[in-house]
């Protein structure tokens, strides 16, 4: 077994005692960093995903530059549909586009059955290489899109405000929706298992569009498949984080999905979330990402409120409530990380004598 020099993140995921609250930032390997943009200037997005050396380089950047307590492999949730045969283009500012979205039985049949070893080997290689280069400084997180969120992109073809096409599918042809969701569930479970085998110390399941569903539809089309994914993942004790963005309902049922950690966005009261599900799972979040537009003094006050809202004790992983925005100043991200590292100590039991007595 490797020896991690900083395992705060993993301990917090398991609700074990930590000296301070660990922090990482969703999309921390991204455009807000000039060092990332320098790599991106010479390579398109998918080339970066598919070239382990480049993926490892940008994955490690925020560990060096911002001081986060975990790295997350540089990749994209849409590599699964791409591996299934969908043609994906990434446009800066416009987001990803599939030019032939999945709308019919025939479209769905054309999706390739994939395995991570055969079709997403480049991600596994990127994980192995990153692990080597991190040499135990912090844990490495792998990730995947959740079946529902992948289905949404595959059916819409791009981001959507109304989600009309995927809603038409689930209401008018639920059998087909479930068929694709089943296929995705197998692919996601295999993919996350392979990431763990390749060295990921934890994995996160991003369900970015879960919150567009009514509470009942969420159970049927999103959470059910996340349950299945989690039960199929092969792991030792690597924690699983589920982040159903925008989901403010069915929190107790969500906390029973088998994940060790539930991620919440900034519209959810962290104290209430802890009251509801903090006995079962650790909680990750939830500073409003736009707070990082403000000056460091303001950022620190808002970060403090997040720490206070969770309160004392274990089981909190500090993060934003969504990915860091591309026009945030890196020094603001750094100010946040520095503050959380320093200030969160007061929320944990660091009295050695007490600890000894407890043991």
């Amino acid at each position: 077994m490797e020896q991690l020099q900083n395992d705060l993140f993993l301990r917090a995921c398991k609700k074990q005692p930590v000296e301070r609250t660990p922090i990482w930032i969703m999309r921390q390997a991204g455009r807000y960093l000039p060092e990332y943009r320098a790599v991106r200037a010479n390579n398109d997005f998918l080339t970066m995903c598919k070239t382990p050396e480049l993926a490892a380089e940008v994955t490690i950047q925020p560990v060096d530059l911002i001081g986060v307590d975990a790295a997350i492999i540089f990749s994209d949730i849409l590599v699964i549909p791409e591996a299934m045969g969908m043609h994906l283009e990434m446009f800066d500012g416009k987001g990803p586009v599939f030019d032939h979205p999945i709308r019919t039985e025939k479209d769905a049949e054309n999706l390739k059955q994939i395995t991570a070893q055969e079709n997403l080997k480049y991600v596994l290689d990127a994980i192995s290489l990153t692990k080597k280069e991190l040499s135990g400084r912090v844990p490495l997180i792998g990730f995947s899109g959740a079946p529902w969120t992948l289905l949404t992109y595959m059916v819409e073809g791009h981001g959507s405000k109304t989600f009309s096409n995927v809603k038409k599918l689930i209401y008018n042809n639920p059998e087909l929706a479930h068929k694709i969701l089943n296929k995705l569930t197998n692919a996601v479970a295999d993919y996350l298992s392979a990431q763990i085998e390749a060295g990921a110390n934890a994995v996160q399941i991003f369900d970015t569009w879960a919150g567009m569903l009514s509470p009942r539809d969420y159970l049927v089309f999103a959470l059910k498949y996340v349950n299945q994914v989690i039960s199929k993942i092969k792991r030792n004790d690597e924690p699983i984080i589920y982040f159903p963005k925008g989901v403010h309902y069915r929190m107790r049922t969500t906390a029973d999905c088998g994940a060790d950690v539930i991620g919440i966005d900034w519209t959810i009261d962290l104290a209430k979330a802890r009251d509801k599900i903090g006995n079962k799972v650790a909680i990750q979040g939830n500073l409003d990402p736009t707070v990082l537009y403000a000056e460091p003094g303001f950022i620190r006050r808002e970060a403090k409120k997040v720490l206070q809202s969770y309160g004392e004790g274990n089981g909190h992983i500090f993060n934003l409530g969504h990915g860091i925005l591309p026009d945030i100043k890196p020094e603001h991200a750094k100010a946040l990380v520095d503050f959380v590292k320093e200030d969160s100590q007061a929320f944990h039991d660091n009295d050695v004598s007490t600890k000894v007595i407890k043991i």
Copy 2:
């Protein structure tokens, strides 16, 4: 006083007994109706807003064609910033755009102080004319954007996914944000009062982007000003509906804002909302608008679940959880309205003998 032939909607707003649940549909005067598109084909959107005859015509269309229990004046929430001097363009499919968004002290100072009588007379005329043409068949609803949502559009210049500019404003220059919000609060209160004076039987305040705020920011930048608007509105007993879309937190505080009705979107459990705030206010909502893509049989089953979720008794106004989408078939909207009219009778006390005893 006028005599309304159908006052179910107004009674439901006041939580008074009704024989069945009233229904209207947000954006019911809109592109999904071929009759609307026929008018729109020869007139641009703002011309329709500014021509009382055209506004009255499309306002009444869904009363005739779909059978809703209330009309809502055809207009747009952005007529206030437009009247304040901002140049507004409406693009089909792209939404509204202000080419010079408000970002600085100077921009804000250039906003005109307006009164509805002077600067939005065309809306008042449209209301008077529509009332005459409706001749008491159903009540007429007036509306305005809430100060926060207006500010959002004015600062962003157009719709946004991240709301970066308005968040920068409230975090980095809250004084300026509050200054504009105060200006808007006065304009909105005056505008809604004038609509009531012109004949609106009820008014709705649309806070479309309230849900982008953290719970604390919502209180400070959105709800506070809605409270002020409501306390300033001059009215007799015309009900006020507040619809803070996406807001799932601070519901009890929201229910204390002075509105008679709170609108909720489809992600909120109607039964839980009633438990929390149904003793104080009536509730409007909340079928997922995309359900109307499904076949009528499915629409009826989902509408039934909404009725069941609210349960028996008064204080429910049936509506979608957001505006009807432009590519919905009119016969699906009609199927919904017909079903709610028929099926909701079972949720109300229609036993005459019981009624007599109760009296």
